[in-house]
Structure formats: C-alpha cells, structure tokens
C-alpha cells in the first residue's frame, strides 16, 4: 500500500492535527500516512493525538524547521 502524504507546513495549531484527523478518516486500517509540519508544538501534539485516538505513531523526526511523523491507522 502506498504511503499517503500530508503537507501541513505553514499551518498553525490546530491545523496539522485537523488535517491528520481528516486524512485518517478516509484511510483503511494498516494504511500509513506521512505528515510534515512546521509548527514546533506538533511534535508533542502528534504523540498526544495518537495516544488519544489509538492510531500508531511509527516515527517522529525533527530536522531544522520541519517535524515529520509517520502514523499508521489502527
């Protein structure tokens, strides 16, 4: 299955998690999505979002001004 991609760079809170939520709704269990965001609060937020919604955070990286997370739909 191809990994989906969300460009949330430039979006402010709560933009990135809103995008993620909307995308995940259209995905099937086991499908993955990669999201990139520039809001540096997103790093903690995506962890909290995954914990709360039960989706799996496969990776979380921060480089320069971009936070990249890969989430698997549970």
């Amino acid at each position: 299955m191809e990994e989906r991609y969300i460009n949330a760079k430039g979006l402010q809170c709560p933009g990135p998690i809103m995008k993620l939520f909307q995308e995940i709704k259209t995905m099937a269990t086991g499908e993955k999505v990669k999201i990139e965001a520039s809001d540096f609060g997103f790093s903690k937020d995506v962890e909290a979002w995954c914990k709360k919604t039960g989706n799996k955070l496969l990776s979380l990286e921060q480089s320069d001004n971009v936070i990249t997370a890969i989430v698997e739909k549970a």
Partner: protein, 156 residues
C-alpha cells in the same frame, strides 16, 4: 469517544479564538464538543449583516453597541480603540493562523454543537434571525445535561 463542553461567556476576539481552537482540536481528536454561548459570547454568533427584526428601543441600542459577528470582535487587552485588534488580525493572517470565521466554519463542519442561550438572547434583544445558521437554542438545563456527559468543561 469522550465529550468536551464549553461555556463561551466572553465576546472578546482573543477568548473566542481560544475557544474555537480548543473546539477544533477536540473534534480532531475524535471528541464530541458542545459550546454554549451566553451573554457577550452571543455576539460571536451574530451575522455580519444587519437583519431587519422587530425590536424595542433598548434592544436596538444593545444591538448597535455590540459587535456583529466574528469580524467585529475586539481584543480583551491592547485593543487601543481597534488598532490592536486590527494589528492582531493582520499578524495572524501573515502567520497563517486560522481566522475566527474559518475556525467557526470548520468547527461546524466537524460537528461541533453550538448552542445559543435563549435567556441571554431575550435580555439583549437578539433574535434568531440575527444569528448564524446551524445552531441550537436552549437553556441551562441543556448545557448541564451535556456537561454531565463530558469530561472537560471550560468557562471562557
């Protein structure tokens, strides 16, 4: 799924923004959200355009003095006769922060329930026709029933 409730008492721009950011965030976490608008908070729900309705003199005066909708709200601090609010709006736009209007639209699209307090409407002479579409009208019992089901309740 859990549930969040908010009482939006304030009609200040900054507080309304905070309320709707929380509402959008909660809805994006899969929560049900109910917002109960009372007193000055009702102004957030007013339509931007003037609506012709029957009103008493005092009701008309209230209507003139209070902001009509999200575009007209003022900051709770540093408003400086509107300069502060203008500056805040332009900085937010420049930094790509959602406007209050956009936050309200997306909240409604995500199923956030907006409830206008009918007692406040009566006191301030605000009629249904003057408020945006897609909202409910109720009193304190409805709000409390929602709050009972929730695990977070905020007064803003």
């Amino acid at each position: 799924m859990s549930k969040k409730t908010m009482i939006v008492f304030s009609g200040d721009l900054d507080k309304a923004m905070a309320a709707f950011i929380i509402a959008n965030g909660a809805a994006s976490m899969g929560d049900e959200v109910t917002m109960f608008f009372t007193f000055w908070g009702l102004n957030i729900l007013r339509k931007a355009q003037k609506v012709r309705v029957q009103k008493s003199m005092i009701e008309k005066m209230f209507g003139w003095m209070m902001p009509r909708g999200p575009e007209k709200l003022k900051l709770s601090k540093m408003n400086m006769g509107g300069i502060g609010s203008y500056m805040m709006r332009s900085i937010m736009k420049q930094k790509n922060v959602y406007s209050l209007n956009e936050l309200m639209e997306s909240a409604q699209a995500m199923g956030v329930k907006l409830i206008a307090c009918t007692m406040s409407m009566d006191i301030m002479g605000i009629k249904k026709e003057e408020l945006i579409d897609g909202i409910d009208y109720a009193g304190v019992a409805t709000y409390l029933a929602h709050a009972d089901e929730g695990n977070v309740n905020l007064f803003i």
